[in-house]
């Protein structure tokens, strides 16, 4: 489903953020991208989600070569992904319901059908009672859960989370990871960037976990 072949990424005027990286991610995998700050985790996620194009090598997503995609096709590629950012990237000028609605609106889904799906997504992350609240009134953990609701409401086949627990304390972090594991259980490919491998991965998931450990932009086994 996602295949990297000798991929490098160099930002202008900088060293290689990702060096000569090859790996493969299959449908339903639970992938952890680990490594210290500056090891290239975010860059790798951006390459996976089609937010960046590789400097060299090929990135195949659903058998499409990202480098060869026309600019107009990129938005449709991105709709395969649900993205969860470390800084949430919520919109603070609208309430929870409307934040989640944005994902469906760009897909042209509106009205009753959209409302049903938005409430289902909010319910899944336990925020149904706060649909009219503004994001600024939510706690850090709740904001991250809202970001998850926005990412999953359009039913993406791949969920990507960049340090989703970075700013949260232990309890909230466990909470958030639990939600992400739940999506893996229903067949969604889940890719999580994290400082280190969480120690509380459920036993029944140990066999599907895949770890990509980065060091200075290179994969180490």
């Amino acid at each position: 489903m996602i295949k990297f072949d000798r991929v490098s990424k160099r930002y202008p005027g900088s060293f290689d953020a990702i060096k000569n990286t090859s790996f493969e991610i299959n449908q339903g995998d639970l992938v952890f991208v680990t490594g210290a700050s500056g090891a290239g985790k975010s860059t790798l996620l951006k390459l996976i989600a089609g937010l960046e194009r590789p400097t060299s090598g090929t990135v195949l997503i659903n058998n499409q070569n990202v480098s060869q995609l026309k600019a107009a096709a990129i938005p449709y590629l991105r709709r395969n992904f649900g993205l969860i950012f470390q800084d949430h990237k919520l919109l603070y000028d609208r309430n929870c319901f409307e934040n989640v609605a944005l994902s469906l609106h760009i897909n042209g889904i509106l009205g009753e059908e959209a409302a049903k799906r938005i409430r289902a997504a909010l319910d899944k992350v336990g925020l149904l009672s706060k649909e009219k609240s503004m994001p600024i009134t939510l706690s850090g953990g709740e904001q991250q859960r809202l970001a998850i609701a926005r990412a999953v409401v359009s039913r993406p086949s791949i969920l990507i989370a960049d340090e989703p627990t970075g700013n949260l304390d232990e309890d909230y972090a466990t909470d958030i990871l639990g939600f992400l594991y739940a999506f893996q259980q229903v067949g969604v490919t889940v890719i999580i960037a994290s400082h280190e491998l969480p120690h509380n991965i459920p036993d029944n998931m140990q066999n599907v976990v895949k770890v990509l450990h980065l060091q200075h932009g290179e994969l180490t086994a």
Binding site: K89, L91, D93, L102, L110
Partner: protein, 302 residues
């Protein structure tokens, strides 16, 4: 179909909502556009009305041949023969100095003048209507006749019509230049307004792009905003023109009455109104299109 419709209704509702929230700004924006658009529209109305005045006057050029005072009757007859045979002349009429004098004495306006004269100062004259009334032809004919024996003066009567025509043409050219300049100003004003709106919504645009919004999706609300500003501006301009014409007409009526004329400034007709509204809408759309495309290009580079 339903989805397509939704994709247009939803951003339209959003834009209308935002305009309603910022009602004062929206109204001011429409006023700026209205005033700018109304300037050439008012000028056009004036020139158009003057053109109608000029069109109402008999504009067929006539040539007057005034003969020398000492022209003999054989010379007069010879000129009559020449006019008869001339291929470019539709008709001609001879007015002798005696009949002209008589007319002058009978005419109330000129009776006083004729009474103060003790002898007839008028020459014999031929009034000639040419077949081809193109200014160039008439002028050639006038030059030719001026050379004839016994002719004191060959005069074209329609000179002032031509002058007015030229001035009106100049007026129309001035409107064209004004429209072009002000149109450019409007594109800039709307473009700038939309650019500021984009800056306040930069976060929304970035997030939308990250989660897979197409450029059309992002552009749509801004294009609707620009188009609506254009429509509002066009309507404002139309109202301004109506008000100005109404205001002018009270004075024009007084002046026209003094000249015993029924002349009134006419309101802009349907063609002008629609052209004005359409060009306002087009300028609004263009301004926002330029602004939103520039911003999108900038965001993509980040």
């Amino acid at each position: 179909m339903n989805q397509w419709l939704n994709q247009h209704i939803q951003p339209l509702q959003m834009v209308l909502g935002r305009m309603h929230q910022n009602l004062l700004g929206t109204v001011l924006m429409c006023c700026v556009m209205g005033v700018t658009l109304s300037l050439p529209a008012i000028l056009f109305t004036i020139v158009d009305n003057l053109g109608q005045v000029a069109g109402g006057v008999e504009s067929k050029p006539q040539l007057s041949l005034f003969l020398k005072l000492d022209a003999s009757s054989s010379t007069k007859e010879a000129i009559g023969e020449q006019l008869k045979k001339h291929p470019d002349i539709a008709k001609y009429e001879f007015v002798s100095k005696e009949s002209a004098w008589e007319q002058m004495q009978q005419n109330a306006n000129t009776a006083d003048i004729s009474a103060s004269l003790n002898k007839n100062p008028l020459p014999d004259a031929y009034f000639v209507t040419p077949k081809d009334i193109k200014p160039k032809n008439v002028q050639r004919l006038q030059k030719e006749m001026q050379q004839w024996d016994g002719v004191e003066l060959a005069q074209v009567d329609s000179n002032w019509i031509k002058r007015l025509d030229t001035v009106l043409k100049l007026g129309k050219k001035a409107i064209f230049v004004l429209v072009a300049l002000l149109g450019f100003a409007l594109v800039a004003v709307i473009g700038n307004t939309i650019r500021l709106q984009i800056m306040t919504q930069l976060e929304e645009i970035e997030v939308s792009k990250l989660i897979g919004a197409t450029n059309q999706f992002i552009r749509r609300p801004f294009l609707y905003a620009g188009t609506l500003y254009g429509l509002g501006g066009g309507l404002a301009a139309w109202l301004i023109v109506l008000a100005v014409v109404q205001l002018f007409n009270t004075s024009v009526t007084e002046i026209a009455d003094l000249y015993a004329s029924q002349f009134r400034l006419s309101m802009p007709n349907a063609t002008i109104t629609i052209a004005m509204l359409l060009s306002a809408v087009a300028l609004g759309w263009l301004g926002s299109f330029v602004a939103v495309n520039r911003s999108l290009a900038k965001i993509e580079k980040l």
